[in-house]
Symmetry: C2
Subunit: 419 residues, 2 copies
């Protein structure tokens, strides 16, 4: 371990902790003023940010980066404007900090109130998209948290430019220095160090692919909120309205295949497979979806390729779909239990008992009857913002809005009570 | 790594997960029936449990175990009765599972409800006191969770007897097999294995000393709720009612020194130190409290020993107290920030601004004005039960009752909505 990196990261974390102590007391007005100033600054510094992004793009092209990845990395006037709009939207949301969640007077006269307070210092480790830099900073600041950002090395110039603009605007507006910090180093050790700084960092939120999330979960001693891997299923029950099922499945797969709430596997009850699958799969294939099917699926639809064990567990995040015919609802439930990532699962059915059984038995953040899994999203759920979608059960589950970036504190007022 | 242990632990965890799937759907009536049956069984099997405890006690004495530890290990008729009473109390508490925490209809007609559900499988790693076996099992079952218990090796025979009685009673009452399991092995590797079983275990709760908790936090990839280390302070402000301060400090130190909400360091404003400290320290010393003071404290009270740096950070859990004279409220806050464990902190003051500043600035699970830190407790807070006191900020903070043993699930009912 190079000592200079360790010292550098520890210094950043200590600075973040100092900032967090002051940020926790920052009034809502001040935080909102800073968020609006940050939005204005992004627009004002658009050219400079785009110039840095050009350098990232050139380097990525030189490295033979895929088109999909290049698209994620790319910034445009419109994308920077949209970051600014996001910050203004966060400014307009209610501030959860300070809310009295519950409170009562104990028999001995003690007043015990449970208050919402910031988490403290939040570490965000993410990949590719430079817009996360602005989104995450905005959400963390609004909730009174200091944030340490660690983006992907491919976006380092863009992220440094954005974070620099944001940090400067926040400080000028009156927020503590070091409220927003981005790690300048792209050394991989930096993440390992960050993950062990329990004395300074209260929570780590990884945002990215399965590999990044696994690495963070396995190596962090700082509490982690696991986000985002989505192996989501849609089960078409024997009683389903098949036209509705087709629209739901098509939407779940095709509307935005790269996101975590997109469907990856379609399960179909054998009693409707023959009626449903050929038309459904043709519709999907016409939308350029590649089909990987079980034996029955392949026999019903000749253009399907044979699915392997890997297909059932795969988050394609692409125009690819695994398809399986199952004999019963319990078989569908068992498949979801085995291969699902506990993100979002849907049943299409007209049968009341089956709908209730599915809602009860599926262990996932969001469970749907007769709707597309694509709705698992902070904005769609009405939170006005989203920092990610938790697939763990501790602290937060499903889309995380502002309250999920807070903790609580018991405030107890007495007049001499002893026990 | 011995493969047989790894397989053994994985089997237990897989069994727990299977049980959890069924337990999540268990109606409250059934869970309560099982809890009452478990209480009855403990009383019925009292003699057998005491006999196993005798063996633990004999082995511990032979190993030269301290008197304090022997007292923790000891079971008596009264202590077993009190475990049974605890289980009956848990049966009488409201079941948090199934509660609709929030819900609304989205503009597109989707009904989005947020339901309280069990966490799933909870691992409890604890030391010494065999009563934790019954307490933890009862709280986990009431909230529909399967539990894997791992007690200390010194209490293995007592724990096996208690867990055997409980598991048998629960199953006979109709709960799934493997709802309650205790690790039979005392091999230290077992804990290391448990801490990495993310596919089966949803949360690990360590209960015990600082060493155990540190080990779990540093090595677990399963989400952890950190509990219990309490380096709690009482700050006597210059405006304090000194008689009240004396009673609060005495209570916080002496009423039960071994618990985590006991005071470990007394901070006194220099303007009242001369008036307050000699009498206070005499009173404490008469109750057999050993005093470790800063320079000023030692000069005001000759019988105090000089405190070292270690004293300020020490959770004595004993009749020992560190005492420091500070020049101001900010100095007291800085001391607490540096040495406190974020558990419980108190100020004694008659000054409004100082009380508000203390409540706002101290970063701890429970912050008090004019009351003893000893109130940080699930029963005192009115929860009716307690699984531990969280000193982290994620998921739960402060005393954890039944709701803290649950997660949430979004249940979404549609009629064909797509995005």
């Amino acid at each position: 371990m190079k000592m200079d990196i360790k010292k550098e990261i520890e210094l950043i974390a200590a600075q973040a902790k100092a900032a967090a102590g002051k940020l926790a007391a920052a009034p809502t007005d001040l935080k909102n003023k800073a968020l609006l100033a940050m939005a204005d600054a992004l627009v004002k510094e658009q050219k400079r940010i785009l110039k840095e992004n050009d350098k990232d793009m050139a380097a990525a092209r030189k490295n033979g980066t895929s088109q999909a990845m290049l698209d994620r990395l790319l910034l445009t006037d419109a994308r920077i404007d949209s970051m600014a709009v996001g910050l203004r939207q966060v400014a307009a949301l209610p501030d959860p900090v300070g809310e009295v969640i519950s409170g009562h007077q104990a028999p001995n006269g003690l007043r015990i109130n449970k208050l919402r307070v910031p988490l403290g210092v939040i570490g965000i480790i993410y990949e590719a998209r430079p817009n996360v830099t602005a989104d995450a900073a905005g959400l963390c600041l609004k909730t009174g948290n200091a944030v340490i950002l660690r983006g992907g090395s491919e976006a380092i110039r863009s992220n440094l430019a954005i974070a620099g603009v944001l940090a400067n605007a926040a400080e000028t507006a009156g927020l503590p220095k070091h409220s927003v910090q981005l790690l300048e180093t792209t050394d991989r050790q930096a993440v390992d160090i960050l993950l062990r700084l329990n004395d300074f960092i209260d929570v780590i939120i990884p945002r990215g692919g399965a590999g990044l999330i696994k690495k963070v979960v396995e190596n962090s001693s700082v509490p982690v909120i696991e986000t985002g891997v989505g192996v989501c299923h849609t089960f078409v029950d024997e009683s389903a309205n098949l036209a509705m099922a087709s629209d739901i499945a098509f939407n779940a797969k095709v509307s935005r295949p790269a996101v975590c709430n997109a469907m990856e596997t379609l399960l179909v009850h054998e009693k409707v497979a023959e009626d449903f699958l050929p038309g459904m799969l043709k519709r999907l294939q016409e939308a350029e979806v590649e089909i990987f099917g079980c034996g029955k699926t392949c026999s019903l639809y000749g253009e399907a390729k044979a699915a392997t064990e890997e297909d059932w567990a795969c988050e394609y995040a692409d125009l690819k779909l695994a398809v399986k015919v199952v004999g019963s609802l319990p078989e569908a439930l068992a498949h979801i239990e085995r291969y699902g990532s506990r993100h979002s699962e849907a049943i299409v059915t007209e049968n009341y008992s089956n709908s209730q059984q599915f809602l009860q038995k599926v262990d996932a953040a969001a469970v749907y009857v007769n709707a597309s899994t694509r709705f698992t999203d902070g904005f769609e759920f009405g939170f006005g913002a989203e920092i990610g979608i938790s697939t763990q059960k501790l602290h937060a589950r499903g889309p995380m809005g502002l309250p999920e970036l807070t903790s609580v504190k018991y405030v107890i007022s007495g007049n001499g009570q002893i026990r």
